[in-house]
Symmetry: C2
Subunit: 215 residues, 2 copies
DNA sequence: TAGATTGTTAATCGATTAACAATC
DNA sequence: TAGATTGTTAATCGATTAACAATC
C-alpha cells in the first residue's frame, strides 16, 4: 500500500477530474455500509462505468490498489478526499443574498472543505439578517472583508447584469476562484478559476431530450 | 434560408447538446444588441470556441447559414429555441420545498419553456404557504396532483435519503423526466430522463483546481 | 463577377476500452 | 502456489479541428 503523501500531477484531463467526486461519493457510501474492500470490477458494476476506466482514472494519481485484492475502501476514500482538497478548509463568501444565495448558505459544505464566512447584498432589507448563523453584510463592505479575512473563494449568485463587473472588482480585491451561478461567462485573467453552474442551461438540455423523445 | 419545420435527428452526441444552450444564450444577447447577422468566425471569437465546431454543431440540425453571408441572428435564435423545445410550455412540479426547492420556485423559467404548477413537501409548516404565487402542497396529495394535471416533469429537491424511493413512486404515477438535485444516481427505467445537478460535486472540482494550483 | 463564408469531408487529437503481463 | 486483480500498454472509438470545394 503506497505512501499517503499526495502530489497532484499537473496534466489531468477535465474528464477525469469531473469523475473524481462521484468515485468519492460511492466510496463514502460503501464505507457507511462497512464494506472494507472493493475491486474495480464490482465498483464498475455499481457505478455503471467500465472497470478499465476506474483503474485508468485512479492511476493518474498513484497505485492505490493491490493486485489480487482490489482497493481498500477507507484508504481510497481518504486519498481521493486529499486529491480533491477536502482535507483542508477553505473560507468563502457568497455574493448575492437572494433566494439562491441564501439556499446555498443553508447548505452543509464543511464536509466538502468549505466554510461560508459571510453573505453580501445591496438590498438594505437583507443586510443584518442571519442565514444559518452567517450574517448578510452590505456589499459596500465587501472589499474590506475580503482583505481582513483573506478570502480567496467566492460564490457568485448575483443577477447577470451585475455579476461580471462585480467579479472583475473582486479579482482586484484578491479573489482567486469563483463558483459562478450567474448566466454569464466571466472574462477574467487566466489564473482565476471559475466553476460555472448554469441552471437554465441544464434545464434546457432536459427540455431538448423531452422534445426529441416525443417526436 | 431553410424551411422552419424542425426535425430532430436521433443520434446527436451529448457534447453537442450541452453546447446548444450556450449558443442560444449568445444569440439572445446579440439579438438584444440589435446584431442581425453573424459569421461562425466572429461568434467563435466571442464564445472562445472554434468556428469549425460551431458549423459542425449547427449542421447536425440543418443548414441555417448562407455562404458568403453567415447566419441570421434572429432566425438562428428561433431555430435553436425550437430544437431545445423552448417554444412549447411544459408543466412541472417541485418535490421538496426546502431552501433549494423554494429558490428554484422563484426562478423565472417561463422563457425556458417551463411552468411550475406546485411545490410538495412533508413538512406541515410549509404546506399552504405560497412561493411566487405557487402553493406548497402536502406530499400525500402528490399522486393525485400528477394524475389530474397530467404532470410529466419533476424537479427533485428532496434529501438524498428519500429521493430515490420517491422518484420510483413518481415514475409509477406518470413522471417521465427528472431535474434531479439530490446527490444520488436515480436508478429508473431507461425511458425515464434524468438531468442531474450535483452541486457538491461541482464545488469539489473547484476545490481540486484550487488545491492543484497551490502545489 | 469577386469575395466571403458556409457545409462537409478528411486529418488529428484525445478519451475510452480491451488486453495482458506483473504481482499480491 | 494458484487465483485474482491490479497497473499499464496497445487498440478502438468518438469528438474536435483543419481544409477546401460549393455557393451565395
Amino acid at each position: 500500500m503506497a505512501e499517503s503523501k499526495i502530489t497532484i500531477p499537473k496534466d489531468i484531463s477535465p474528464a477525469v477530474i469531473k469523475r473524481l467526486p462521484r468515485y468519492y461519493r460511492y466510496l463514502g457510501e460503501l464505507k457507511e455500509h462497512d464494506v472494507s474492500r472493493i475491486s474495480s470490477k464490482e465498483l464498475s458494476q455499481r457505478m455503471q462505468v467500465t472497470a478499465s476506466q476506474i483503474r485508468q482514472d485512479l492511476n493518474n494519481f498513484g497505485g492505490f490498489g493491490q493486485q489480487g485484492y482490489g482497493y481498500n475502501v477507507e484508504y481510497l476514500y481518504t486519498e481521493i478526499g486529499k486529491i480533491l482538497g477536502l482535507d483542508k478548509v477553505n473560507n468563502m463568501i457568497i455574493v448575492g443574498a437572494g433566494n439562491l444565495g441564501q439556499a446555498l448558505a443553508n447548505y452543509h459544505f464543511e464536509p466538502n472543505g468549505f466554510r461560508v464566512l459571510g453573505l453580501f447584498d445591496v438590498n438594505p432589507r437583507l443586510v443584518g439578517l442571519t442565514v444559518r448563523g452567517v450574517e448578510i453584510y452590505d456589499i459596500d463592505t465587501l472589499e474590506e472583508f475580503i482583505h481582513t479575512h483573506d478570502i480567496k473563494i467566492a460564490v457568485l449568485t448575483l443577477p447577470k447584469q451585475t455579476a461580471s463587473d462585480m467579479a472583475k472588482s473582486m479579482v482586484e480585491w484578491g479573489i482567486k476562484a469563483f463558483w459562478n451561478f450567474a448566466p454569464v461567462d466571466l472574462k477574467l485573467p487566466k489564473d482565476i478559476m471559475v466553476e460555472n453552474v448554469h441552471l437554465a442551461e441544464s434545464l434546457m438540455t432536459l427540455s431538448y431530450r423531452i422534445r426529441s423523445n416525443n417526436e
